[in-house]
Amino acid sequence: MGKFNPGKVAAIGCIALAMFGTGVALAGKADNDIRFAYDQAPESVDPYFNNVRIGVIIGQHVWDTLVYRDPDTGEYKGQLAQSWRRIDDRTIEFELRQGIKFHNGEEFDAEDAVYTLNFVADPENAVTTQQNVSWIEKAEKIDKYKFRLISKEVFPAAIEYLSGPVVMHPDEYYKEVGPAGMNAKPVGTGPFRVTEYDVGKSITLEKNPDYFADSPKKQGPIEKIVIRFIPDRQTQMAEVLSDGVDFIMHVPKDQAEQLEAMTNLQVVSGETMRIAFMQMNSQDGTPSEALRDERVRKAIIHAIDRETMVKEIVGAGSRVLNTICFPAQFGCTDEGAPVYKYDPEKAKALLAEAGFANGLDLDLVAYRERNQTEAIIGYLKAVGINANLQFLQYAAMRDLIRSNKVMLTHQTWGSFSVNDVSAATPVYFGFEKDDITRDPEVRDFLKKGDTTISPEDRKAAYRDALKLIAERAYAVPLYSLPVYYVATADLNFKAYPDEMPRFWEMTWK
């Protein structure tokens, strides 16, 4: 706090100067184009071979999925699939829409779906995010527009995954060119097609004139989206201030608030599925024996004023959480879970009771939102816990966690936008390598939730797991993280929790 930050000073200066700036040209608006700047390039445009947000954004514009989840209602609608039904616990049968064409003219049918699903399910093909596809055993064609999908185990979240990262490729083209060719010249069925791609620099998407009218992704008036990769935040801000781009996202809260003063810009913030929480290492061999004491863990939760943090530093759109999952995810609930109010006196009393009346030294590892970590350290200090911060790169932090060398962590998790608890809580409590609490009871409840078909039974199992995690104070649930978008004032758009700007539905005023 209070440190001189030349970048920030320059950013504020930019805004101050821009207020005196000249009229706005609106190059994007005149042509019905949107110029979008993002801070990193995707490693591959093929959605199966990248694991970054921009890859998901491009993926959803260029390709389609079998199922579409309505972001407003959460309802699953048929996209490339007309309808589907469960045959048994592991099999789903899909009836496909007819008359849909890929950007290269190839017709979409069951051959394409079966080839894509079998290709991505094969570990030999090394799809980047195995988690998204490793549940698939195989797909089998029934007739030209009908096929069956079989999962390895009972996998109730199948439809959710099929509405997210699992896009459909054209079989003939993909067989011929493979992932490298798909990256060089992407072909999908989506509302936009790639017309220009300069690796690491920019990508241009143009409206697909043959897009099928029945798609739940309704094609709007936007003709072209030009995406440029600009890693420097200040440069992005300068671009939006000087009308070089129309849309940027992930703008830090303080800078977004400065931009609110500009009449030619709009600042929109929205909640995302990314949750922030703290892990407390209480497994065997933890470097801090103190954390094995439930009273110490409860004291830590009571010590942090999450309400104030949300209001003052996290930002609009964020909310305080009581369990380790995102509230809109299927199975996420805080029903029956204890709520730990901000109560430093109680925290001190709990620490004294546990034998730490004179204070306690703990290490804390973190990798992003450093200002939030520093606030947490301040709150801990106030109750007598000296947290020594190790601020690391993500990989280095994760390395330490997995080798049982951490005490406290300040973590975040985005669930890959999968709207189901199976993509969140089990990562940290299901005995995977990031689980540093290892409670077999919690694991068993989660496992039950992950592999039961009945929605009611799933909900009950997850509820029991989440309640137990909260009761035993295994982690500090903090809050959901918001995202700030800055756009030209004349652009109509809406923010969704999955951090997906839907350019197909945007319009110019």
């Binding site: 030349p6 320059a10 930019c14 821009a18 988690q131 992932p179 440069t235 000087s242 994760r398 995977e432």
Partner: protein, 305 residues
């Protein structure tokens, strides 16, 4: 001379080797590369798949040896992140960085030589002090900060130049100034010191005594001699500018080698990092060598020693 050049070429090779080893092991010490490649939030299966796919399950020394053998064969491998051939990727980005480096050098010379001459001719006057202040500011300002000031002025306030990109010549103007300004002081001081020395020498006094106009004395007689060390320094500074373009290219999203280096470091794309580091270190050593040769050629006294 031939022995000298051969020795320096051998040295260049050793430097490149040492730098590549340091880069290789530093990268591995900064955290598990497989976790970084698998990305934020990757689960066990993904991390293990990445580890196997890129041979990261072998001991680091074996990985380094394997990389070295492939590289010596001329195969720089595939970019983990961009999934394309490293050599063609690096090659494609090279022209932007070279152009920026040469333009920045040109800018630095165009500013520093007149300023240096002025500072020497009017030594210890306010002009000298003003030139000195400019030099101090140039050296003290972090170049990314200076870059942002330029953006504020030329893009946001005046709207003369585009903020970022590399598609037209106007995209290069601000990066050129931001990068070139940083090396200007070194040249300026060199020109100033050289000019002061030369201006007090006997042949200049003779030239003046002959009644030649000051302009001729300064630019034809004095500057020619004073500027000699600048030639050698230019080669070294060009090496510095090529390596130093990482920050500036990133700020201006200029699609060159520096930008590529930044992206590769962010994604732990080690084949690309290794190739860029190797290329830049070889270039730097070669340019230093060129500077030495130019010096020796221009100044015969050095050749004897």
């Amino acid at each position: 001379m031939t022995v000298f050049i051969l020795k320096r070429l051998g040295l260049a090779f050793l430097v490149a080797l040492a730098v590549s080893a340091i880069a290789f092991f530093l990268l591995r010490m900064s955290g598990d590369v497989a976790i970084a490649i698998a990305g934020e939030g990757a689960r066990d299966v993904d991390i293990e798949a990445a580890r196997r796919l890129h041979g990261l399950d072998r001991p680091p020394i074996v990985q380094y040896a394997a990389w070295l053998i492939e590289t010596l064969r001329g195969d720089f491998g595939q970019s983990i992140f961009f999934k394309t051939d490293v050599l063609s990727l690096v090659w494609a980005k090279m022209p932007v960085t070279l152009l920026l480096g040469i333009m920045s050098l040109g800018f630095a010379l165009a500013v520093s030589i007149p300023l240096g001459v002025l500072a020497a001719v009017f030594a210890n006057s306010w002009i000298d002090r003003l030139a000195l202040s400019l030099a101090v500011v140039g050296q003290a300002l972090p170049n990314f900060f200076f870059a942002l000031i330029l953006v504020m002025l030329f893009s946001i306030m005046l709207r003369w130049l585009p903020v970022s990109g590399s598609s037209t010549w106007s995209h290069y103007v601000m990066p050129m100034i931001a990068l070139g300004y940083y090396v200007t002081p070194a040249f300026m001081r060199l020109v100033r010191a050289g000019m002061i020395e030369v201006l007090s020498s006997d042949y200049i006094r003779t030239a003046r005594a002959k009644g030649l106009p000051a302009r001729v004395v300064i630019f034809k007689h004095a500057l020619r001699n004073a500027v000699m060390p600048v030639v050698a320094l230019s080669a070294v500074q060009l090496g510095y500018l090529l390596g130093g373009s990482v920050v500036i290219e990133t700020v201006f999203a200029l699609d060159g080698l520096g930008f590529l280096a930044y992206q590769s470091i962010t994604h732990k794309d080690f084949p690309v990092i290794q190739a860029v580091v190797m290329l830049l270190s070889v270039l730097y050593v070669l340019l230093t060598l060129l500077g030495d040769i130019a010096n020796a050629w221009l100044n015969p006294r050095l050749r004897v020693s």
